[in-house]
């Protein structure tokens, strides 16, 4: 008998606890390594940027400078921007993006499920949808700016809607089409009518697809909001970036981008949390796998 086996004989719980502790130690060590490497990456990236611009290998006038960006952010936070307080600009852009995201997602989900369920509708509308998807829809932003005026948030929100809608729509549609036929047959045999079939089988089944598209589409909603602001606005981070560009303030452009990235990351976290709640029935990740 091996010595390993002898050590634990009569007390399997102890071995269990020991194994668990060892595993959580390994996981913690791994997490620390990853955070450490991320820090190293950021320092190398920003450091080389800073050094190259300090030594004038590249002109900071064109590419900006990390210290300059930080400084610009600090002035924005303490003294406010040319357009008003910084938090207000962030709030404006977020309002536009969230409105566009919610309206676009709801429309996309509703139409995706409708067309996925009604074959005739899908066949009739498919060339129009494909055509609409192929054209560069952001140019509609100029139309919306005329329609709603430069002050209103709705011009930007609708620009975000046209971007978000198609991604969510195609995913919802595909999700409905991919529903396991066995599950549908089972539900029908058990007595489900069409309404029950949609709410209890089709929608939950398509949910994984829909939620996956929501991750991408919040980024698109921000793009829509920022592009919408470029077509005319009185505030918002997009307008702030636009102004900075016009005054050759490269650090200002980067500072604005940095703020947008932070907002996008926060939103991503919120969506992930919602996703976790909505599909708790899905098998959790195998312990060996590490989430990215």
């Amino acid at each position: 008998m091996s010595s390993n086996r002898d050590a634990g004989e009569g007390n399997p719980q102890l071995i269990d606890a020991d194994l668990k502790a060892r595993r959580s130690r390994t996981a913690r060590r791994r997490r620390l390594t990853i955070y450490g490497l991320r820090l190293v990456f950021a320092v190398l990236w920003l450091g080389s940027w800073e050094v190259m611009t300090r030594l004038n290998w590249v002109d900071p006038f064109f590419v900006g400078q990390p210290s300059g960006i930080a400084q610009r952010l600090w002035t924005w936070i303490t003294d406010g921007t040319a357009l008003g307080p910084l938090w207000l600009q962030a709030a404006i852009t977020m309002e536009e993006a969230v409105l566009g995201f919610v309206i676009g997602s709801v429309l996309g989900i509703v139409f995706g499920i409708l067309l996925g369920r009604i074959e005739l509708l899908a066949e009739v509308l498919s060339p129009f949808i494909r055509a609409a998807n192929a054209i560069p829809r952001v140019v509609l932003g100029s139309l919306f700016a005329i329609m709603f005026g430069v002050v209103s948030v709705w011009g930007k929100a609708w620009t975000a809607v046209v971007l978000v809608f198609f991604v969510v729509f195609f995913n919802a549609f595909q999700g409905v089409r991919e529903v396991d036929r066995n599950l549908v047959a089972n539900a029908r045999i058990l007595g489900a009518d069409n309404r029950r079939l949609t709410t209890e089988i089709i929608v939950p089944s398509a949910l994984s697809w829909i939620l996956a598209s929501l991750h991408i589409s919040f980024g698109l909603a921000i793009v829509g909001a920022v592009v919408g602001e470029l077509f005319g606005a009185t505030g918002g981070l997009g307008q702030l970036i636009y102004n900075a560009g016009h005054t050759f303030d490269v650090n200002g452009v980067f500072a604005g981008m940095f703020l947008l990235a932070v907002l996008a990351l926060i939103a991503e976290g919120v969506i992930s949390a919602i996703e976790k709640r909505l599909i708790k029935w899905r098998p959790s990740r195998v312990s060996g796998e590490i989430p990215i």
Binding site: D180, N182, L183, A185, N186, A187, R188, I189, L190, G191, A192, D193, R196, E200, I201, P204, S205, L207, I279, K280, W281, R282, P283
Partner: protein, 269 residues
């Protein structure tokens, strides 16, 4: 004699293939199942066994011929039919309790009442304590139990089973077969049990219907006059079991060879 629970008369089923051809799954099939009879359907791969069930359930319509359930022609999915699928067909986003309660709820039973009945059936299939688990947290055998309870809770007069235990390991399978017989004996349902496993068919059924290699039609019918209640694990050792097995196998062998040759041929093209 009482009128048959299930009647198929001269039934043919054709499918249009994606390449524009026509595939005949069943040709001129005629068979009957008596009320409360346990009928097994065996045949080589691709002989249209599952199609037979789809026709009886109303999931598919016959291209020619007549399908009658309890005397009336099948037009769409009727009440009183249970269907246990080959692959897992329990809903992955519902817990055991919600899965089993689905049938009554679809029939308009109030939520609380449906849950009470579901708990009763969960206990009967031996899953008490697992009410709040999701299917992915259960083993294959347990998921099959959920599927069984889900079908039986509706009190089906006709129970259709499509190779329900083929994905289980041998021990679990024998266990489930015994439990199925116990559950069935407490109901008066007519069962059509499709399988490619002759041993399973004989151990469970009152009668075995043998189909030819596709397009399927009935090659022979064999009475299984083994006494009930049966223990599936031990019945195989009875001499009578071996006799019946041999009689059916002599005919099944040819069909299996035909089917195998065809598959080889199809693969060679």
């Amino acid at each position: 004699m009482a009128s048959p629970a299930i009647e198929l008369r001269g039934v043919t089923k054709r499918f249009a293939t994606p390449k524009g051809g026509i595939y005949t799954a069943l040709r001129d099939l005629t068979m009957e199942v008596a009320p409360a009879e346990f009928c097994a359907v065996v045949g080589p791969t691709g002989c249209g066994k599952s199609t037979t069930l789809a026709l009886i359930s109303g999931l598919e319509q016959a291209s020619a011929g007549e399908v009658r359930v309890e005397g009336s022609p099948v037009k769409g999915i009727a009440d009183g039919i249970g269907y246990v699928f080959q692959s897992d067909a329990v809903f992955p986003w519902k817990t055991t309790l919600e899965n089993v309660a689905a049938g009554p709820r679809y029939h308009g039973v109030a939520g609380a009442e449906a849950r009470v009945r579901a708990r009763d059936w969960i206990a009967r299939v031996g899953l008490s304590g697992f009410e709040d688990r999701y299917p992915h947290q259960l083993s294959g055998g347990m998921r099959k139990r959920v599927g069984l309870a889900q079908s039986l809770i509706n009190g089906p007069r006709i129970l259709l089973m499509d190779e329900p235990f083929s994905a289980l390991d041998v021990q679990t399978r024998t266990l489930m077969e015994n439990e199925l017989l116990a559950l069935w004996s407490s109901t008066s349902a007519s069962v059509v049990f499709v399988t490619h496993d002759l041993e399973e068919a004989i151990a469970l059924a009152d009668r075995v219907v043998l189909l030819t290699a596709g397009p399927g039609t009935v090659k022979g019918t064999f009475e299984v006059d083994l006494p009930r209640p049966r223990n599936v694990a031990e019945i195989r050792f009875q001499p009578r079991f071996a006799q019946i097995y041999e009689a059916i196998w002599n005919q099944l062998r040819d069909e299996v060879l035909v089917s195998y040759e065809r598959q080889k041929h199809a693969a060679a093209i």
